[in-house]
Assembly symmetry: C2
Homo-oligomer: 164 residues x 2
């Protein structure tokens, strides 16, 4: 199983009367995310499923990936919201699915959540040592059997600037 943790693109700033969960991608954020999606297509990536945080800026990022045909399947998971916990996600979502080893799964979400999930998968604890920029991504290979916590390997970490 390969997991691609993708941070949402550049979104509009916080402002009075605008709920955090309704902040949209800016025009620049949308364009840069579209370019990243095109590059991922060129790299022949294809996800069996894209799972997104329900917040607008993540959902819009995931929809750009779907529009670029990086996957035909999109689902929401509340575990990917900013306060989400990877152990709950594994328990409620990952283990029950019992995906085969070759599955490629993309998770679209937020910082510092995604890089913390990556650190827990790799080293079993969070030390805030990974820099994940907006529309950037982390590629992690999960072990074929047993818990992935502290046992997974990272093969990719990139910001958009190194992709475009």
């Amino acid at each position: 199983m390969e997991l691609y943790l993708i941070r949402h693109g550049i979104a509009e700033e916080h402002q009075p009367g605008l709920k955090d969960q309704e902040r949209q991608l800016t025009k620049e954020g949308r364009q840069k995310t579209e370019k990243v999606a095109q590059k991922l297509i060129k790299l022949e990536l294809n996800f069996d499923l894209i799972l997104t945080s329900p917040l607008s800026r993540a959902r819009q990022t995931a929809e750009i990936l779907i529009a670029a045909k990086l996957s035909s399947q999109l689902e929401e998971s509340s575990h990917l919201a900013p306060d989400g916990n990877i152990e709950n996600w594994l328990k409620d979502w990952y283990y029950p699915q019992n995906y085969p080893a070759k599955t490629q799964l993309a998770l679209v979400g937020h910082e510092p959540c995604l890089s913390s999930w990556a650190e827990i998968l790799l080293w079993g604890e969070v030390k805030e040592r990974l820099v994940l920029k907006k529309a950037g991504m982390i590629g992690i290979k999960l072990p074929e059997t047993g818990s992935p916590l502290g046992r997974s390997q990272m093969f990719w970490l990139t910001s958009p600037k190194y992709l475009l």
Copy 2:
């Protein structure tokens, strides 16, 4: 200080009568490394210094980076040989140089040495959780003051296939 840990390109196999330190880059290894170097130039990377392991395959990789004009300075360090130790390198080489914060330094070497160095810089210990392919690289930002051990941040990890 930004540190770019670069693994040598594809080299000829071990064979009787050929010393490990004299194994050369293959034609494919040379071509792929040249393409990576051109991509790094396109990304506007420039190193104040390239420090290489003295082994032929690393030295040849470093010379390809120099030929592409990624740096004008090339030096050898025995600490970058396959049994090199990062703490000795820091003590003998890094601390005495007292480089300014904006320095960009490339280290060309071997696995599993380079990814171990990265893990020690990030998390303070080696758990073999990073996958660094031949002609791939790891980008690490060191803190401005104090020891970088267990206190640095990773902003890039890529194999050639994601660059080309």
